[in-house]
Amino acid sequence: MKTKQLVITALALTVAFTSCNKDNPEPEQPATPSASAYDNGVFITNEGPFGSGTGTISFYSRSNGALTNDIFEAKNSYPLGNVVQSMSVHNGKGYIVVNNAGKVEVVDAGTFASGGVISGLNSPRYFLGIDNNKGYISEWGLSGAGSVKVVDLNSKTVTATIATGKGAEGMVKVGNKVYVACSGGFENDSVVTVIDATTNTVLSSIDVGPNPKSIQVDANGKVWVLCSGQWNMSYTMLEQPGSLVCINTTSDVIELTLSFASMYSQPFNLVTNSAKTTLYYTYDGKVYSHAQSATALSTAAVINRNFYAVGVDPTNDYFYCTDAGNFSSNGKVLRYNATGMVVDSFTVGIIPGGLCFK
């Protein structure tokens, strides 16, 4: 029977199609690192896909120009977790801040072998080493209560909480004082909280401008804060533009406030050169510089391109600039020399948002 054959052929076809597996993706095999592969180079923290994915860390070696992606999972066989915010190296240990997972993974900065976890944090942002036994972690906190957590580096436990302004973000240490930029977190704030690093108490709160996020120290020991401005209710334009603010760290008063012109673009990513005499920041789709002695914002850009994050290599003043692409696939790091000429570029993980120079 013709019809019978048709039925049989159809069924056979179905079975054949069901049983074969085409289009299996080729897995990307991460390279196995040597004993202490990460001595001379740059760690790039990749936030990871928005939502429920995991962040990763890439390493660029200055010695041989090699790039290794996802070095944490390759060494430790588990992923870092959701939203890798930043990494700092302190006393030979790497402190990787994982924002949404509420933890800081501690690794050996040379081998990247896991050395414990600091947990019980709420939206942690940055780690700052204070001394051999103590570290500070800034966090946005539960229900918007910004704070700095004091961590015993030996036991890896939180020993105290210092209340700051909302959305505690970037931190710098000058002498015995720690300056914390309070970015507002999910809301708005305008202060830099000053903490006595010996007693872990708040010394003062300096009103700098709308939503300060990044903070640096210059060669004269002055603190520079980049306020990112404040949007109006409907997020159509800035109600208050961003500003660059200089704080005298002896008196803790503001010496200089420079407001940005744009009501649509926010300044971000304040970094310094190796000598700490020049500051750099991203603004209006470009990278600008600001000499520590300058009293006005410069109008000429150093690099004419928009980046997600920028870092300056303290060994050679190269810019490491990240391009997060479409924010759902692997991003790029572009290297520029000190004069802003492009050197090379390489592909890293998803949403490269932080640079840690070792």
Partner: protein, 642 residues
């Protein structure tokens, strides 16, 4: 609160028994004949669609999943891929490689996608509230308007007159402290029907899983996944004279869910409460010359989301008022014309929009069907013009043909334009780091498909084979991207091309009280981004994330007298998790067993059943780092009074 709920249930149980105790005489044969004059008007799906692949979930599968939700039912028993965030968590569909908002969900013809997100969480729809589920594959913009892009889910209620008083109650319990109670009561007279369905469901969902995303891969228990929900569906149907019919429906539901953390997130304190009211009414007049239909709906939904990690404390309320009228008549002997108008008003209020927003849509539509005797050949042309807030959006049309070339062998073809309007979130969002774009264009494009269906009966054997090839383009696909100011905003970015093949084969053997059903299906779908407004976009020619290229399913059911045993197995292939296709999730295979036994004691019928899920204890993830349960079960008893 609990006392109130319990006493409410007790009250309804008493009412049900009281109603049951009354003696009802059945209608005489003459009356039944008279009643048949009033014909139930078909929906546009059955009356005016042609050439689309359709899938009707059989009543047996609806019964098997009667104390489950629509997402679980579709995941296990239909051909669509369900993107689930885990047990008791939200779930959406992907039809033929499209997105969640590319699936229109129609409840008795009304779109219930909601204006804010333009997508429906299928895990919140209780199967017990539904009498009929049909899946229409492919674009059908001219029939259903915005959102009918990848496919359309039709969930319907039906009632039969002259059935007397019927009541049933269903009590089930399962793994992870899952408890469910249902009560259905209906009084069906010769001129009216009134029915009430109630349910209550709560679960801890604290299933154990291996957390591969933590140091040492520890076994953990899912946390913050508790769920409580209850609701009612009240329906009334009236016959007026010989030709008119009116119905009213009221759907109330409350859901209180904690939102569990992902495996990479450690803890979560997030909670979401939803409350919804859906009220509809429909009038049908079946004249000899003309058939008239008018329907109205009022939907009111609240969402209250709290997350103390992000200080998010968002309350939102959205409303929809929908009015639709249709007139159907024949010009020639073999044709049928339908003209209609749809007016939809939506509004939404939330702290995340800078103001209360609303939208007025008016659509004129018409369908023309020709059909030969015995329906060996039919063809439909449909058109629709919609005006949104005074602006005309592209004219939409579709054409479909079905022809039975020889006995049992049918050829179907359809080409349709489709569109999706941007959601309110896309247009009006104004929250931290993100803002909507009021200048977004609707996504739109064409879809085409060709199917062969072959049905063959031989003695006690029934065979069915179907194969479909489809093609679909969606232009102006909306994606959220950060602007240079680091504020995320949606744009019309991509052009997505989807194409694929779908096969289905089923064999049924029947002899007396014995029946065996064997079915299998296989889908192969490519859905890629072909063009992008972003320069050097690495995602061009790459598969969309969370769209499996392959999926397959098989099921075997055995029925003997009152006993039934069903085994279903599904395979979901690789899914990419990043848009450059560098990261992916492993395929998984799930096996489920359902066992039911019917017992009849005089007027009382009783069904005892057991459902076993993931019997092969597969560790899998549907979405990256969202834990899924291993083996789990559900036991229940359903008692029918008549």
């Amino acid at each position: 609160m609990n006392v109130l709920k319990t006493s409410l249930f007790a009250f309804f149980v008493i009412v049900a028994f009281a109603a049951y105790a009354q003696v009802h005489d059945s209608a005489s044969a003459g009356e039944i004949r008279e009643l048949q004059v009033v014909e139930v008007s078909e929906t546009r799906l059955t009356a005016f669609s042609s050439g689309n692949k359709n899938e009707t979930l059989d009543s047996a599968s609806l019964k098997r999943y009667s104390n489950s939700n629509l997402a679980d039912l579709l995941a296990a028993e239909s051909q669509v891929f369900i993107k689930s965030y885990g047990l008791g968590s939200s779930a959406t569909t992907s039809f033929r490689g499209a997105g969640a908002s590319h699936t229109a969900v129609l409840w008795n013809g009304f779109n219930i996608q909601g204006p804010m997100l333009s997508q429906l969480d299928l895990s919140l729809v209780p199967v017990n509230f539904l009498d009929d589920i049909k899946l229409q594959y492919g674009g059908a913009g001219a029939l259903w308007g915005s959102g009918a892009v990848g496919g359309t889910i039709h969930i319907n209620n039906k009632a039969l007159f002259n059935k007397g008083v019927q009541a049933s109650c269903n009590v089930a319990f399962g793994s992870f402290a899952d408890r469910q109670q249902q009560l259905n009561v209906s009084i069906s007279e010769k001129r009216w029907i009134s029915s009430l369905k109630l349910f209550r469901h709560n679960a801890k969902n604290d299933f154990p899983f291996i957390n591969t995303a933590q140091y040492g891969k520890p076994e953990q228990q899912q946390s913050n996944a508790e769920l409580e929900q209850y609701g009612l569906l009240q329906e009334n149907y009236f016959l007026i004279g010989k030709r008119q019919k009116i119905n009213t429906r009221f759907w109330y539901q409350f859901n209180d869910r904690n939102i569990p953390p992902s495996m990479t997130q450690n803890t979560s304190n997030a909670n979401q409460k939803d409350e919804l009211y859906r009220i509809t009414s429909e009038w049908q007049h079946s004249g000899q010359e003309i058939e008239l239909l008018a329907r109205m709906a009022y939907f009111d939904e609240y969402i209250y989301f709290i997350d103390d990690a992000t200080t998010e404390n968002s309350k939102s309320r959205s409303k929809a008022i929908i009015g639709e009228a249709e007139a159907r008549f024949s010009v020639l002997k073999f044709d049928r014309v339908n003209v209609g108008i749809n007016a939809t008003y939506n509004d939404a209020k939330t702290a995340d929009y800078s103001r209360k927003v609303n939208q007025n849509r008016t659509a004129l539509f018409a369908n023309y069907k020709i059909q030969t005797a015995e329906n060996r050949f039919n063809a439909v042309i449909s058109v629709r013009q919609e005006v949104v807030d005074g602006k005309a959006i592209p004219f939409t049309t579709s054409i479909g043909v079905e022809a039975e070339l020889f006995k049992g062998f049918k050829l179907k073809a359809n080409a349709a334009r489709h569109y999706r309007l941007p959601s309110f979130n896309d247009l009006y969002w104004a929250g931290v780091g993100a803002k909507g774009n009021p200048d977004l264009k609707p996504e739109s494009g064409w879809s085409e498909e060709l199917s062969i269906v072959y049905k063959y009966n031989y003695k006690n054997l029934e065979c069915e084979f179907a194969a479909t090839g489809f093609n679909r383009n969606i232009d102006n696909w909306i994606i959220w991207l950060p602007e240079t100011s680091n504020i995320w905003s949606p744009k019309n970015v991509q052009e997505v091309w989807s194409r694929g093949l779908e096969y289905k084969a089923a064999v049924t053997y029947k002899q007396g009280n014995f029946k065996v059903q064997l079915s299998g299906l296989y889908n192969y779908v490519l859905s890629t981004n072909e063009k992008s407004i972003v320069p050097n976009d690495v995602t061009v020619h790459k598969q969309l994330i969370y769209v499996p290229v392959e999926n397959a399913q098989g099921s075997l059911s055995v029925y003997y007298k009152g006993t039934s045993l069903t085994y279903t197995q599904q395979y979901i292939g690789y899914r990419y998790t990043t848009s450059d296709n560098k990261y992916y999730l492993e395929p998984y295979t799930l096996g489920n067993v359902h066992l039911a036994q019917m017992i009849t004691l005089n007027k009382l019928r009783l069904k005892a059943y057991a459902q076993f899920n993931n019997i092969w204890k597969e560790t899998y993830q549907v979405i990256a780092y969202r834990a899924m349960p291993l083996f789990n079960y559900q036991f229940g008893i359903c008692i029918y009074f008549r």
